[in-house]
């Protein structure tokens, strides 16, 4: 079903790239006025979804729409600004020239000076793109995305290759644009970024949406710690302890994924006084996804 209230959507989209299935009958809708974060591990299908929504890729089956039109039509893209992950810039053009040229693609662009200011590029305006650092080039890409005052801003891994300060500055302008009514779709494999920006998180894995919720709710569902230790206790014994999600061997170490570390650690220490090498770490996004996936499979079964 195509969600017509969405500013952009995929409906039942299947896409294969290089003979491998990337998306399988995916439904995804970006709602107006929301900041939506698409997160997931590499290869989950995030960039492919963005490629389909921005008209760069064509679905094998199903339908993509952007403001009610086929995204492959240039006019459909007139209200969208895109910051791509791997796009280059023409070396011999200056920052101001490329921003001015891109602004000219839109019906009511922001003044070039204002775009440069928002992207922190005022001092670099006359520099040729070939002489920019990686982080500066990312800021130019950001400027190209926002210069048309788009109703939908699509940011593919926006803060990759940016230092923390530049990333925070970018987050602030994205937040500001969202507050003024723009819809934002961003992809990231950084949960903190989604947390800082998004109203809604779509967790993606192997071409499917495995969770669709607020960042706080995702964090609560995914919140977990990983305990490692060297012990004579077995994974089978540990797996039945309260709050243990997963237990296994990692080399010579017992590895346990838990919701809350302290009570389980206490039980372990009580059961094996000879236990050594106890370490407790936050679960990675991969662990969280594995947990959410496992939960989903249990529901399905």
């Amino acid at each position: 079903m195509m969600d017509l209230s969405a500013v952009a959507a995929l409906a039942g989209v299947t896409k294969r790239l290089g003979g491998k299935p990337v998306l399988n009958r995916l439904d995804l809708a970006i709602r107006a006025g929301e900041v939506t974060a698409l997160i997931g591990p590499n290869g989950a299908g995030k960039s492919t979804s963005v490629g389909l929504l921005t008209g760069r890729l064509t679905p094998d089956a199903g339908e993509a729409q952007l403001f009610g039109l086929d995204p492959r039509r240039p006019a459909a893209r007139g209200r969208m600004g895109v910051m791509l992950q791997a796009a280059g810039l023409p070396d011999v053009m200056t920052v101001r020239e490329i921003v001015a040229l891109q602004s000219g693609y839109y019906v009511s662009p922001r003044p070039v000076a204002e775009t440069l200011e928002l992207a922190g590029l005022t001092d670099l305006a006359e520099r040729r793109c070939g002489r920019l650092s990686g982080g500066q080039a990312r800021r130019v890409q950001y400027a190209l995305a926002i210069c048309g005052q788009p109703d939908l801003l699509v940011l593919d891994e926006p803060t990759a290759a940016m230092d923390r300060g530049a990333a925070r500055a970018l987050w602030a302008t994205v937040r500001d644009m969202a507050d003024r009514g723009a819809s934002v779709l961003l992809t990231s494999h950084d949960l903190a970024e989604a947390d800082a920006l998004a109203d809604r998180v779509l967790l993606m894995d192997q071409g499917r949406i495995v969770a669709d919720d607020t960042p706080a709710a995702i964090r609560a569902r995914a919140a977990a710690a990983v305990i490692r230790c060297r012990t004579r206790l077995t994974p089978a014994w540990a797996s039945v302890l309260p709050g243990v999600r997963e237990a296994g061997m990692d080399g010579a170490d017992l590895r346990i994924v838990v919701a809350e570390a302290a009570p389980v650690a206490r039980l372990l220490l009580d059961a094996d006084p000879a236990l050594t090498g106890l370490r407790i770490a936050d679960a990675t996004l991969e662990d969280a996804i594995a947990h959410l996936l496992a939960a989903e499979e249990r529901i399905a079964a």
């Binding site: 760069r56 890729l57 039109l69 006019a75 895109v82 040229l101 000219g104 693609y105 019906v107």
Partner: protein
């Protein structure tokens, strides 16, 4: 949905920006502009101590076509392939810019470069004593500039299918091949029979024959049939290039 229009002037601005970019790449511009003039000066003017104006006019016809193939094949073939690898085309494709404006801008830059090369050759021809009516000069120049188009579309098709290095190699092969087989350097009458036959398959041969007819040099076939063949080849190259654009993800 409202206001899904495209702004006016996109095509013009894109063309100007692309011409400016070419101008700022002297390492590409200078050899592309100078090579055909240098070849013309060497083979027509210097090697024939005092060439007859008629001979100079006949070779002018072919070298002008040669001058168009360089910017077209390298600017489009190698240029598009490299821009694809650098993610420059991706940037354009997700923007509201229509695809046609990208092609038009690249074509404008190639014609701009061709024009400079053709002017140089024309000046050398004047020095060599070539005198033809102004209308014929105009027609010859128009033809030489038009010659960019079929080769640009062939280059575009290559650029959308090959990687940067392979596209440079393919552009080189076509650059030299179309010059030799098309009789742009050595008149086709002096080529072996099989090469003359193969020459019929490249647009440069037909373009050079039309150019010869314009300057009043001996030519084979009728200009009308050559023109029809060139237009057919141009349309086929255009369809091939468009298919490449459509199927390529970036």
């Amino acid at each position: 949905m409202t206001a899904l229009a495209l702004p006016t002037g996109v095509w013009r601005r894109e063309c100007l920006a692309e011409v400016k970019r070419s101008w700022r790449l002297p390492q590409f511009l200078v050899p592309t502009v100078l090579t055909p003039a240098a070849f013309y000066a060497l083979f027509t003017l210097a090697l024939n101590k005092s060439p007859s104006p008629a001979a100079a006019a006949m070779t002018l016809a072919g070298y002008g076509v040669f001058a168009a193939t360089g910017p077209a094949l390298f600017g489009f073939g190698a240029g598009v392939a490299m821009e694809r690898e650098q993610g420059l085309i991706e940037l354009k494709r997700v923007s509201p810019m229509p695809a046609g404006a990208y092609v038009a801008a690249k074509l404008a830059a190639a014609i701009f470069t061709t024009a400079m090369a053709v002017v140089l050759i024309d000046l050398l021809a004047l020095v060599a004593g070539v005198r033809i009516p102004v209308a014929n000069w105009a027609a010859l120049t128009a033809l030489h500039l038009f010659a960019t188009l079929p080769f640009a579309l062939i280059g575009f098709g290559l650029g959308m299918r090959l990687g940067g290095k392979a596209a440079v190699a393919a552009a080189n092969a076509l650059y030299l091949g179309s010059a030799v087989l098309g009789g742009l350097w050595i008149p086709p009458e002096m080529l072996p029979g099989w090469m003359r036959t193969a020459g019929e398959l490249v647009p440069s041969f037909h373009l050079a024959q039309i150019a010869r007819w314009i300057v009043g040099a001996p030519s084979v076939g009728s200009p009308g049939s050559h023109a029809a063949i060139v237009l057919g080849m141009t349309a086929a190259a255009g369809a091939w290039a468009w298919a490449g654009w459509r199927r390529s993800p970036a």
